[in-house]
């Protein structure tokens, strides 16, 4: 339970961080290449981790959905 809470907090934090990075790119009139590369690397790592976490959550949700459907059938 604690692990799930921490993981979901991480996902939320990661997404917030990612959102800041995309905002940074969108608000730059002229891209600072070095800073941009740094942020791209950071963003790729965040996207990868978030995708994985999201996939895990989706799988868990599907399991729950199956259980709910089974209960309804009974």
């Amino acid at each position: 339970m604690t692990e799930t809470k921490n993981s979901s907090k991480t996902l939320r934090d990661d997404l917030a961080h990612l959102s800041k990075i995309t905002d940074w790119f969108e608000n730059q009139a002229e891209i600072d290449v070095e800073e941009g590369l740094k942020k791209v690397k950071e963003a790729v790592a965040l996207i990868k981790a978030s995708r994985k976490r999201l996939k895990d959550i989706e799988n868990e949700f599907e399991e729950i959905q199956k259980e709910v459907n089974l209960d309804e059938d009974e």
């Binding site: 990612l18 959102s19 790119f25 891209i31 941009g36 791209v40 989706e58 949700f61």
Partner: protein, 373 residues
Amino acid sequence: MEIPEQKIFSVSEFIQLLNIGLKRSRARIVGEVTQAQVASSGHGYFTLKDENNGAVLSCIIWKSRYSMYGIKLEAGMKIMAQGYPEVYAASGRLSFIAETIELAGEGELKKQYEALKKKLTAEGLFAPERKRPIPKYCQKIGVITSKHGAVLADFLNNLGKFGFKIKMIDARVEGQEAVEDLLSAIRTFRTQDIDALVIIRGGGSLESLMAFNNEMLVREVAGFKVPVIAGVGHHQDEPLVTFAADASVSTPTAAANYLNRSWQEALLFLEKQERIIFGFFEEIFEIQRSIENKLMIFMQNFKAALANLSQKLSYAEKVITLNNPERQLGLGYSLAYSGGKIVRSVKDVLPGRELEIQVSDGRINSEVKKIIK
């Protein structure tokens, strides 16, 4: 029976023969009691006189019968006796052996009824505090009535289907002869396993109901081992048995309904409880349905939230891809590094310095030959 002429009888044989014939002359006789005496043996000896011509008849009533009918024989009393004639061998005297005796005439009956009622009331036999409640949900019922007539059918037809187990003893219920049957029946039921006793008959005049005013019967009812329901119809003077019974109703149908009552009440109670339980179930189902609906809405919202997150990630991915400086390399642009730093200006390099050029598929090491501004 034909008697052969040449047959010679002894006196006692002949009296015996006479008595056989006389026993067939059963009759009911009405007359006025002129002499009455109760011997130390308990047997009653009395004379009945014809009101019209003064003809007299000696009568005997044996102790067992005399005590049964509760009438104290006194001179001047008008009675009706039922029995047969018999010659008493020891005296050669003809006597009428009374099997039943009853008061004749409404006035006498009423007088006897009132006197007995007063006596038994004074004894407390009819007191309300002596009444026992009819057991609830009783099933083993003893019934005393005549199997002839509609009374029994009325009673049985009106009994509900509650698993009653009926034991019935047939008894005459009319006239003084009924006393013997009723007493015998009630005494038989004393030894039977029953929850309640029901004594029923249809309505009738005071005269026809006299058996139900019999003192011995009234006492039997009052002291019976289980509660007694009397359903003895009456017009004005309620039979004393009904006062002694634990419950009194006016008809056999009412007696059946009395027994049905606790069962019907239980049935109503169960139906009410059933409705309450079903009501609870309805409520629980309603709560369950509400929870399921909320869960479904939550699941849909959660699914939408997941899709939204996925879209956000895709969008971020797109923004990052579009803005990735390395993406420009594929378009033919390159990045130049000198001393590990990106070269943005000619000021960042000097001739002779190493210059690393990054293209889409690798890096090229070169040297600055000349700077052109």
